[in-house]
Symmetry: C2
Subunit: 347 residues, 2 copies
């Protein structure tokens, strides 16, 4: 018999302020939604913090956090739930970490349909299970109608960094190769086409995915990797400019080598977007010494999430640390940071 | 020379969507606000994840997360900034953990004054420094005006649990003593009086504080402590009902032994609030075997944050796991969970 008079109505019910009160309604929502779907013994223990043993020999950890405010909440290829798992798993992975555990903080709007919340939580649970990274602790707040837009989710991940792995843009040297794991722009264009009700011959899907098995395979085969980063908000241009700024090198890329789907390129053209600025949620940029680049490329292409990987450029000597691109027409242009905001609430 | 054309205007400027774009404006806000004030070498490394070495011999960790949506953002005795540090430090401490590091995820409203954001960040930085728990990674999202109410902050903390410390309500046994570290209701009444523009002869201040040095002293002196929890949302009654439900015991407390300030009791009377349901942000409830209770009480009273500690009751045999209170008039009443929501957005 349940501790509660009747079960939460996940069909017709709505979030109300009592779900964030610290009282019985909140306890019930946690039991019947979060604990049930996230389903793991650490979360089950129901303390305010999650306790876990560290893997033997763990010497260094990584911690990463990401808030998710994507609009719309459901989009082709994913939703805010799986996105919030993938985004943080990827941040841990980009630091060279093996993700261990996630926390999830929900901020919910009074009146939000419980059916939608359940769909989001199930999607998170599936993504966490598939990634092998359980959600072990969390928090729920509810604010009055109109004070938040539906649901925002902040996830934090912790992971262990294997000994010997040292990643960071400061390790990039002139001559290093820049690799990209696949097509750019899919996530941003999928969101925008849903938002603007655009339709294309082929539906463009978000590339949202957890990349930690890819990074593990890459680091295992090529421990000399200098830096990894996923080109989310700000797109590829933001990552390359961060790498340039933090390494003190310039970066030269070749437009012809940057993979992009025809329909994504066409959509960007139509919408006036530079695909180099558009967010991705299942791609990464890697930098490695030139002698290891072909081997790294082969390892990446052998992984299903990087079958379309390519070497797109090199780090160069440039005291001004510019990012420049040789265009398909043989010209040369600067690749600057995004200025302004072309796509708010993309993730 | 700065990398940016001109510094962020923290006097007259406002948050705009570019501050969440992943582009140059976001990089500048991170540099000139977060990195500058949170000021620590791990955050300075500016990767998406924070890497840190674990203390030698660390075997178990704890992870806790807390979203903060308090309204108003600034209140007597604190603000959302210090609250977001204290809340999560306390969740780690209640699990018996020594807090090591924090992450902070900000969701900002377009148009929010940068001066207020700076004030909040400085308050977080001060609280983190005072607690000795650096904010090592973070995330910033900006949403359109009207889609979030000012600023919400989700903090996550990680800490190390010393060997031999095992806490949890399931360890509570009939006969165990219930201790409370001080006066209840200060935080909730401080928020509500600010919200409702009430004034009292003496201003009631939030008790927001980091309790990890208190818990460390308590666990050091009395390792037999069964469970610790901070009575935030839902107040003392929520903690006692959680303890009862999770231990399978009943709990009997004595109203006369529960510390409460006269002006807080009067305000609760006036506002129709039950002080047992009102949130605290700098208090804890501890349960220990009866033979250790006086020693634990002495250790608590010796700490500045628990000078007003008291033994307020005992765990009892009760197959229905009720929480009951002997009133000051000698009667007996049930202490139930809060039903409904008396004070939304209290933390």
């Amino acid at each position: 018999m349940s501790r509660y008079a009747r079960p939460v109505d996940f069909k017709h019910g709505k979030v109300d302020l009592t779900h964030g009160s610290g009282g019985r309604a909140m306890a019930q929502l946690i039991d019947e939604l979060f604990v049930r779907h996230f389903d793991n013994p650490i979360l089950d223990s129901m303390n305010d913090g999650a306790c876990f043993a560290l893997p033997a020999g763990a010497g260094r950890m990584v911690m990463a956090t990401d808030g998710h405010v994507v609009s719309p909440l459901f989009f082709p290829g994913g939703d805010i739930g799986c996105l919030s798992v993938h985004g943080t798993v990827n941040d841990v992975a980009m630091a060279g970490g093996r993700p261990l555990y996630l926390s999830a903080g929900f901020i919910l709007e009074e009146g939000f349909p419980l059916a939608d919340l359940k769909r989001i939580v199930v999607s998170m649970a599936d993504a966490a299970r598939e990634a092998g990274v359980p959600i072990v602790t969390g928090d729920t707040k509810v604010v009055e109608q109109g004070k938040v837009d539906g649901v925002f989710i902040t996830t934090t991940g912790v992971g262990v960094v294997p000994d010997g792995i040292e990643l960071g843009p400061d390790r990039i040297r002139p001559g290093d190769c820049i690799l990209l794991s696949g097509c750019i722009g899919d996530h941003g264009v999928a969101i925008l086409s849903k938002r603007e009700n655009l339709s294309f011959e082929t539906e463009i899907q978000s590339d949202t995915a957890a990349l930690h098995t890819l990074t593990a395979a890459m680091l295992d085969a090529v421990p000399s990797i200098r830096a990894l980063r996923d080109p989310t908000r700000g797109g590829l241009s933001a990552v390359l400019n961060e790498f340039a700024g933090q390494s003190g090198c310039g970066i030269a890329i070749r437009e012809k080598d940057i993979p992009i789907r025809g329909e994504v390129a066409a959509a960007c053209e139509l919408l006036g977007l530079d695909p180099l600025h558009v967010a991705n949620e299942g791609k990464l940029v890697a930098v490695c010494p030139p002698e290891d680049a072909e081997r790294l490329l082969a390892v990446m292409r052998a992984h299903p999430l990087a079958a379309g990987a390519a070497i797109i450029g090199t780090a160069i000597v440039d005291p001004q640390h510019f990012v420049q691109m040789e265009t398909v027409f043989g010209g040369r242009r600067m690749v600057d940071w995004l200025t302004g905001e072309q796509l708010p609430r993309i993730c």
